[in-house]
């Protein structure tokens, strides 16, 4: 059988998935049926002898249940997965676009001016390696609002890749193209708009794609700290409820949303890509 590479890869993926799920399912201890429980176990509420990771079948059942009604709201401790993800996305996107609004113009400035590059470089080098969560206590104290603090943490973690990539892309625009702008007497703003922005766009988009990935990583941890709503809070809350099925389900959802965000940015990156 001669199939395209894509078709064969898809088939292999499906086989791998089936094998992994099979191993996982087989490795999960079976729950005893009610009739087989000892009297002690019945008295203890059918307790498992040892808590175990739920089998994939249980996760599927849970996923079906949650995804068939994702937006229910039964009080602060019981909201649908759609609502939780919605909160997380809201925080990620607002912090992220706030960061973009500052990082991209600032990156242009740094990239176009060697003076600004040298002047700001020490700040960037010191601030960049700080774990975004290290800002959390300071943010909570200064902002006095846990929601805004979470957004700030997203802002501070997504600003650096965008800033550095924008500066790098702008500084690396081929001199020939800048000369084209100069010989056509384009002003600074027009040069930035007609030549430098499109020339640096692929590099800038790469920075934006790295940033959104980091922001989505950080939001889970940030929400575990600030609590209340969001997918990170949801994971931690289900852990406190000892509902491991929901924990596994939400882990998968975090992966899925992260993948969708990355795919969206990869698509945008293709739009601004050019071939020399």
């Amino acid at each position: 059988m001669i199939a395209s590479l894509n078709a064969r890869a898809l088939l292999l993926s499906a086989v791998l998935l089936a094998v992994l799920l099979g191993i996982w399912e087989a490795a999960s201890p079976q729950q005893k049926l009610g009739s087989e429980l000892t009297e002690y176990e019945i008295l203890m509420g059918g307790a498992e002898p040892k808590a175990a990771v739920p089998p994939p079948s249980a996760v599927f059942v849970k996923a079906w249940e949650e995804l068939s009604n994702p937006f229910y709201d039964a009080g602060p401790n019981d909201k649908g997965i759609g609502i939780q993800i919605g909160y997380s996305l809201y925080r990620v996107l607002s912090g992220y676009f706030l960061a973009a609004a500052i990082a991209i113009p600032a990156g242009f400035l740094i990239g176009m001016s060697p003076l600004m590059y040298r002047a700001l470089d020490p700040f960037i080098q010191i601030l960049r390696p700080i774990s975004p969560l290290a800002w959390m206590p300071l943010a909570l104290f200064v902002i006095q609002d846990s929601q805004a603090s979470a957004i700030f943490v997203i802002f501070i973690c997504s600003i650096w890749p965008m800033l550095i990539n924008t500066a790098f892309g702008v500084a690396g625009v081929r001199k020939d193209w800048v000369n084209v702008a100069r010989t056509h007497e384009l002003g600074t703003l027009k040069t930035a708009w007609i030549v430098i922005l499109p020339a640096a766009a692929p590099t800038i988009l790469t920075g934006m794609r790295i940033s959104i990935g980091i922001a989505w990583l950080v939001i889970v941890a940030a929400e575990m700290l600030v609590g209340g709503t969001g997918i990170g809070y949801y994971v931690w809350n289900e852990w406190n409820n000892l509902d491991l099925t929901s924990v596994v389900f939400s882990i998968l959802m975090i992966g899925l949303v992260g993948m969708l965000l990355d795919t969206a940015f990869a698509y945008c990156a293709r739009l601004v890509q050019y071939q020399e």
Binding site: W177, N179, T183
Partner: protein
């Protein structure tokens, strides 16, 4: 003597040498003049500073000494009055061929409507034979020859007072080069464009130029000779090789490149006057009015006429 349209006066370029040593002088005391509507080619070996001279004319580079005066004004910084075609085309790869021309036309004529800009750009793209959908392609989807055509169309479309061509055909194969040379000469004939062009190709220079400037090797390179090409226009590639002067001019150029560019190299002009010797070829026999300063006699049938004639 009236000042020519473009006048290069005492131009020098030096680069700072390694610490403690003398600066590297690429060329020194270059003087030349170009009249309006003239097509001038400059030939010289790599490293003699041709491209630097062109970049200074364009305003993209600064001379260490001397000045360039165009139309009575000193050149400082790039301007739309001087269009450039680079060897590597310098098209913006994210724009279509048409957009690469329209943005330039837009920059030249800021008060034109979209339609005026579009029609003007199409007109010049048609001149170089880019029509029927090719103008909507991105540069990466065009061959090298097509890209250089777009670049030429862009330069002509802004109708600069001086057109600077930096080895425009250097990266093209011989057949493509020939057909674009023909197009270039046709477009130039229909305009009153002044052209300054760098080339390595002797035949190309004779086909295109009214005058060919010869540079000695660097360092301390200078424009040693200015060879008049008095072959009547329109010139056709297949016919000019039968012109009685053709091989005299060609031999003179080749001999300069092969021998005298090296022999004259590094000789600084002691008296500081470095107007190039004007060399003419004619049927009326060889007359050398003045020998080259310190150099051997030019070949037979060449006539050195110093200064303007």
């Amino acid at each position: 003597m009236p000042t020519p349209f473009l006048s290069v006066q005492g131009l020098s370029k030096r680069f700072p040498g390694p610490k403690g040593s003398d600066p590297l002088t690429v060329f020194e005391n270059v003087n030349l003049g170009i009249e309006k509507g003239e097509f001038v080619c400059i030939i010289g070996h790599s490293g003699c500073g041709k491209s630097t001279i062109l970049n200074i004319l364009a305003g993209l580079d600064e001379p260490t000494d001397g000045a360039v005066i165009m139309n009575g004004k000193e050149v400082s910084g790039p301007s739309l009055d001087r269009g450039i075609v680079f060897q590597n085309y310098s098209l913006l790869p994210w724009l279509s061929a048409l957009k690469n021309v329209t943005f330039a036309v837009q920059a030249r004529h800021r008060n034109w409507t979209k339609k005026q800009v579009h029609d003007h750009s199409i007109k010049y793209l048609e001149m170089v034979g880019l029509t029927g959908g090719a103008e909507l392609r991105k540069p990466s989807q065009l061959s090298g020859g097509m890209r250089q055509r777009v670049s030429i169309a862009r330069a002509f479309a802004i109708q600069p007072e001086l057109l600077l061509l930096d080895e425009p055909f250097g990266a093209l194969d011989a057949l493509t080069r020939g057909s674009i040379q023909d197009e270039l000469i046709r477009i130039w004939a229909g305009s009153d464009q002044t052209v300054f062009m760098i080339t390595h190709d002797v035949d190309e220079a004779i086909l295109l130029a009214d005058r060919i400037l010869l540079m000695t090797n660097g360092p301390y390179a200078r424009v040693a000779e200015s060879v008049q090409v008095d072959i009547e226009r329109p010139r056709v590639r297949a016919d000019i090789i039968h012109h009685p002067d053709y091989y005299d001019i060609r031999n003179h150029l080749v001999e300069f490149l092969a021998k005298r560019s090296r022999e004259l190299a590094g000789k600084r002009d002691e008296d500081g006057v470095s107007e190039p010797n004007v060399i003419r070829f004619g049927l009326n026999g060889p007359v050398a009015n003045k020998s080259n300063k310190g150099a051997e006699e030019p070949p037979a049938r060449a006539r050195v006429v110093n200064g303007a004639d």
